[in-house]
Symmetry: C2
Subunit: 499 residues, 2 copies
């Protein structure tokens, strides 16, 4: 125990309350920049700060770096004309990228952050490549969560209605060549780059409080290491990259209760600690209710069939990015939701993509199936009749599903819960997600006080902050804005201490 605090100046509010500089007897470490959390945002921040010449330490609560980023699919949302896009035959521009994300991540995106993110995306691609992250110059061409191939490029909803009418469609999902979830490879490369640039990692180190001087400038971090309290002086700044708060039930209840009880897309450490440490200093938050949510079904089941709500009504084109229909269902449509599909469609999925999949309900006609599902009398029959009439004409005037996936559904029909792959595991609800809201930051990662002014010495990036998102989400934008704004925070923090 190297730090003692004078008890009179430390209110009893748990370890989250700031520690006054006057109460710190001795710092155990003295560095330029302390980064708290070693996911993708922390890695990008540490790498840029170290490259700029700063002495950097990254604190990671687990015994190895990676965070939730290392467990993710690994897609990074990049565009505007990257070499991979060009090699695959797609033209793109920063304006088209902006127009798509403005709609898909909206309403109410942070336009300033988003504009910068799009304008500098090709440059960000080059930075990633320079640090060893490569993308195969080939394309996977069907809606899915994570392609089972090493293709470097995928659609993330850009070619689905209504987005295809708002911007020239170009695929922008860039993925490492693992053939599966690729977040670990991204993090492996970034962690190596941080080390090569001279950044140090202190594992098993959980930050517990920020240290502030008498002018309320953040000048350090208190942390727990193997049961000991250790104190870091940060001469230039502290960067919080602690992730979101999906693992903190109390914060979920307060801000994003829609995710309570559902699966968590995280490494178990998204406990909101960085957000809380900063709020204890008066930091402002933004969009704390925004979430990503996924219904865990084979996407091909959904786009080959028809997705309806508890009233038997369709509500979206089934061939969009799975995250988009998932979010629409969970946040806006009466549950339960059902995928209605015929034998031909179901078997195509059950053979090729999800062997052993069983439908929950089967009936000879839509009327009978609707009755079995407890839908209003005639509702499903009516929806199927209209769908089939339009499918026969090759058009979907309601939601403009691509004609490629429009096909008359001919009895017998099955109803499948669109959470089926999650539901089948006993402990899961079939829905999993994470939080998008967090600290309110400038485009350079400075954390804003509720007064609107930056808190001197304090920076943040990644899911500890509110990033480029409004109320929508598509994959790749968390690794995307985490690395992009993590870099900016790292560069800003490495500047001479002037703020």
């Amino acid at each position: 125990m190297d730090v003692t605090r004078s008890s009179s100046s430390t209110p009893d509010r748990g370890s989250i309350a700031p520690v006054s500089l006057a109460s710190v007897e001795r710092f155990d470490h003295d560095v330029d920049v302390v980064v708290v959390g070693f996911g993708c945002a922390g890695a990008a921040a540490a790498l840029e700060a170290a490259t700029a010449g700063a002495d950097v330490v990254v604190l990671e609560r687990l015994s190895a770096p990676g965070g939730s980023s290392a467990q993710s699919g690994g897609e990074i949302y990049l565009g505007g004309g990257t070499p991979v896009q060009k090699a695959c035959g797609f033209e793109d521009s920063a304006d088209d990228m902006y127009a798509y994300l403005h709609a898909a991540l909206g309403p109410h995106v942070d336009e300033r952050k988003l504009r910068l993110y799009c304008d500098e995306s090709v440059q960000h691609f080059e930075w990633l490549r320079q640090h060893g992250i490569s993308f195969q110059e080939s394309m996977y061409d069907a809606p899915t969560w994570v392609p089972p191939t090493t293709d470097g490029l995928m659609w993330l909803g850009e070619n689905a209605w209504p987005y295809d009418t708002l911007a020239r469609p170009a695929p922008r999902g860039h993925r490492p060549p693992t053939g599966d979830y690729g977040g670990w490879l991204l993090m492996e490369k970034l962690v190596a780059a941080v080390g090569a640039a001279g950044g140090r990692t202190h594992p098993d180190s959980r930050a517990t409080a920020l240290v502030v001087d008498e002018a309320s400038r953040v000048v350090g971090v208190a942390a727990r290491q193997f049961g000991q309290e250790v104190c870091y002086r940060a001469r230039k700044g502290v960067i919080l990259t602690t992730g979101g708060f999906v693992d903190n039930e109390e914060m979920l209840g307060a801000h994003a209760p829609v995710l309570l009880g559902h699966g968590k897309v995280s490494d178990g450490g998204d406990d909101g600690s960085g957000i809380r440490m900063a709020c204890a200093l008066g930091a402002a938050t933004r969009r704390m209710s925004a979430v990503q949510a996924a219904l865990i079904a084979p996407p091909s089941l959904v786009y080959r069939g028809m997705l309806v709500n508890a009233l038997g009504q369709r509500f979206i084109n089934e061939d969009g990015y799975p995250g988009v229909y998932s979010q629409r269902a969970l946040l806006h449509e009466p549950a339960p939701w059902w995928v209605i599909i015929d034998q031909e469609g179901f078997e195509a999925v059950a053979v090729a993509e999800a062997p052993g999949l069983q439908p929950q309900h089967v009936a000879e006609t839509a009327a009978e199936l609707g009755e079995e599902l407890g839908l209003p009398p005639g509702a499903l029959q009516n929806t199927v009749t209209i769908y089939n009439r339009h499918a026969a004409e090759g058009e979907d005037p309601y939601f403009h599903k691509n004609a490629k996936w429009l096909r008359e559904l001919e009895g017998p029909l099955a109803a499948v819960d669109p959470r089926i792959l999650g539901v089948s595991a006993a402990t899961k609800t079939g829905i999993a997600g994470f939080t998008l809201g967090g600290l309110h930051t400038t485009v350079d990662g400075a954390v804003l006080h509720v007064s609107g002014q930056p808190i001197p010495g304090l920076y943040a990036a990644g899911r500890a902050t509110s990033g480029i998102h409004g109320e929508g989400y598509v994959s790749g934008t968390s690794l995307g804005d985490g690395t992009f704004f993590g870099r900016r925070a790292g560069r800003a923090a490495a500047l001479p201490a002037s703020r």
Copy 2:
């Protein structure tokens, strides 16, 4: 200028940052309890604190008390068997009241606050009556925003599906006998009662910051009065009853962007200042994205017709409380929305309730009307056909609209924008609302720090806090929880300073 602050201890973060006790040279006023804001919550808090023997001052930023409460409809949500309910022939219980509000204000209500609110509702009714607020023992029996009568009791959605299946329906909207918006009468009585109990009002006084001692206890308030800074010592506590933040564009953008650009249900002073002053001390917030929203149309237009979304789909029973269908539309259904109504229905409204009302579109058939509205081909025709078939049978299997309002719609048909009364005024969007999220408080009004512990000396109530609401809203619950929890905060703050 009676207060000076040593500049070294006051970070430059605007006036919202807390003032340290050490930097206050002299207090201009020395009282037990300072209440900030004189709406219904402030009045209830001041009244109870003064009744308990505390020396109380209420700071009001305008030149007269009343706040947004005085401009409201005046309905107070009370039940569990009040004398007015009994006189009108309704049985009720705290459990039925709880079951209804749990559903109508949900999902995700604060169950502890709601339970207390229901269990002690009859007692709260008596307290209001004791302080001069009377309710006529008669009932207004049709869905509406504000009845044009002096009847003391009205439905607030309790008798509409699905709520009528979840709890025994009883009307719980209690209203002062003004024959119109009655909030002013409620406030007139409460303000008089505060004065009679010895509470003092300091008008034209805008609180700017909280004063905290070295143990982070709130011990006073700094305020602006006619351009001068004045400082109040609060020996026992400060109670923030400053209202929500619908008048603060920056906070709306950060937390509840869905209300940006729409009308504001407020007195113009719901600027979130109390929330921000407390957050500058590390206070926790809750449900900052929750809002009330109203589509400004004659409710009878809606329940006599059929409400559809941008796809021509019905999405709710039209005979519920107008706030409920308004919120469903704004938050969850693709816009624009339309009321589809026939000539008989339209004329009944235009003659009796909204003389001069004009439909935006008229056509001989549903198919033609749908085409004119740009709905998907056949969509409106299909919805009207199904609605009429069910109306002929006297049943609505989709949304269980009461048979009393079910009637076949026979051409010619009109389409009316359900925001019509607001839209017709040039500067309005036809939607108006306010915010429901705010400070996280205990049932006794103690403001919680992000650490989970109460901030000593700091209390809050009303729309500056997150109250009994989840994501839903019905009228009467803001005057209701503001007065109910305002009272509890006032009593708690008046206790000897022990926290």
